[in-house]
């Protein structure tokens, strides 16, 4: 699965995007955040406050309970601060 990171999430993870092999147990965005948190120190730091992290599947905002099975790309990012 292609995962994209933006802003301070990108800086903490240390990369803008990556392809991650996901176990079958990872079914929703919330599952994905829990899974990524366990991938190492930088991920644990990036996702330590998981409730503020927003997600988009194929460039559309989704909630934490959104299923990820048919996603082409999942983007994870902090609350937006444009404008």
């Amino acid at each position: 699965m292609k995962i994209l990171y933006f802003a301070w999430l990108r800086e903490r993870v240390g990369k803008a995007e990556e392809d991650v092999e996901l176990p079958a147990s990872v079914k929703t965005v919330a599952d994905l955040l829990r899974f990524l948190t366990g991938r190492g120190e930088e991920y644990a730091h990036a996702f330590e406050n998981a409730k503020v992290i927003r997600a988009a599947i194929d460039k559309v905002h989704v909630k934490p309970d959104a299923p990820i099975a048919n996603a082409r790309e999942i983007a994870l990012f902090p609350p937006m601060t444009g404008g």
Partner: protein, 159 residues
């Protein structure tokens, strides 16, 4: 005419405004908003802002809000231009304008578009101040501003 544009070049609000009415005489109202990089915030002087965005989604999300605005108000046109990259104080961060036959629709739709742009369009600001760089934190008042447009909500926070 491009309704939504993201650019790393300076935005010219006058040129963007003129483009909305050029060659047409049906427009009775035009409301244009420019968001500009200030030179200071509570914590001190601002050297620059750096805007990051999610290419593809930023355009798509703004376009969805323009379609929603067109469904809610009788608009004749809308245009949003957002800057990305490094910006210095005095430069325009975002330009948003709406046209309609009458002023109320143009005023309300422009405000609606800006409220949603602040909270739903995937852009992130980093501020450089006194040699340090920090990501700007989302503000609750921006979420509240967007929430008042939810269907069924009171139209104005002041009411």
């Amino acid at each position: 005419m491009m309704q939504v544009r993201i650019t790393d070049q300076p935005i010219d609000p006058a040129a963007e405004t003129v483009a909305l009415t050029r060659g047409r005489s049906d427009v009775g109202a035009l409301v244009a908003f420019s968001g500009i990089c200030r030179d200071s915030e509570d914590s001190g002087k601002i050297t620059s802002l750096t805007l990051e965005h999610y290419p593809g989604m930023a355009e798509a999300e703004i376009s969805r809000h323009i379609e929603e605005a067109k469904a809610r108000w009788p608009l004749l046109g809308a245009r949003i231009v957002h800057r990305v990259g490094r910006i210095v104080p005095g430069e325009v961060i975002v330009f948003a304008a709406c046209t309609s036959k009458h002023r109320m629709a143009a005023f309300e739709a422009a405000e609606f578009l800006m409220d949603f742009l602040k909270t739903r369009a995937p852009f992130w600001k980093k501020v450089e101040s006194a040699g340090a760089e920090n990501w700007v934190e989302a503000k609750e008042k921006d979420d509240n501003a967007a929430a008042r447009w939810e269907r069924g909500a009171k139209r104005k926070a002041a009411e």
